[in-house]
């Protein structure tokens, strides 16, 4: 079946711009997660949704970052006033229920010039 999909696969933007990254989880998965992976490192947790609500957003670096999941399926990660330090691969994962195995998408590579 279809896995987690993320769009765009690559995004290049200029410092100060606004970007949106989209995640389509596996159909039927109620839990959705965002992680960020810097070059040469493992993914780091950003935010977790159970259904429509953000159950834990403690990993978001600052208030320039916001993630939503209005209908409990697709999620969008929104970054305002991008900075060069935001450059990384943003990974989305989903699981059938909270606590189940997390399956990752291919990621969006964000480059802030």
């Amino acid at each position: 079946g279809a896995g987690v999909s993320q769009t765009p696969s690559n995004k290049v933007t200029e410092k100060g711009k606004y970007v949106e990254l989209r995640c389509d989880p596996i159909s039927g998965h109620t839990a959705l997660y965002w992680y960020r992976q810097s070059l040469g490192q493992g993914p780091e947790f950003l935010i977790y949704f159970q259904g429509t609500g953000a159950a834990d957003d403690s990993g978001l670096p600052n208030d320039r970052f916001l993630a939503v999941r209005p209908e409990g399926s697709v999620s969008t990660l929104k970054i305002q006033r991008t900075e060069r330090g935001d450059s990384a691969v943003y990974l989305c994962a989903s699981s059938p229920q909270t606590g189940d195995t997390q399956y990752f998408g291919p990621g969006t590579r964000l480059t802030v010039l």
Partner: protein, 110 residues
């Protein structure tokens, strides 16, 4: 005494040999542990997991060992193939959050 495998950032393996990748974890309360494989330009791919109440689990060509006494996890890959070349991450699962270790880059020599 029991030896603890050292985490190495890179591992070069001859095709057909067995690979052993080591990982140290930090949280004794983690409920399970997962190994992921990540190829260049792709997201992490689930390989195998093990519950904290187990010490060994086998999959297809892979075996994971868990030593809670020394907080150590290992992944053994049998008969390593060129397609096994990738970065391997261990991850601890707590409630809903994954914490990843430093990856190991495995290169398979023909």
């Amino acid at each position: 005494g029991e030896s603890v495998g050292l985490h190495l950032p890179t591992l070069s393996v001859q095709e057909g040999d067995n690979s052993i990748i080591n990982c140290a974890y930090s949280n004794s309360a983690s409920d399970y542990f997962i190994w992921y494989k990540q190829e260049s330009g792709k997201g992490p791919q689930f390989i195998i997991d093990i519950r904290s109440n187990m010490d060994k689990r086998q999959g297809q060509r892979v075996t994971v060992l868990l030593n809670k006494t020394v907080k150590h996890l290992s992944l053994q890959i049998a008969a390593t193939q060129p397609g096994d070349s990738a970065v391997y991450f261990c991850a601890e699962h707590n409630d809903y959050k994954l914490s990843f270790g430093a990856g190991t880059t495995v290169t398979v020599r023909a």
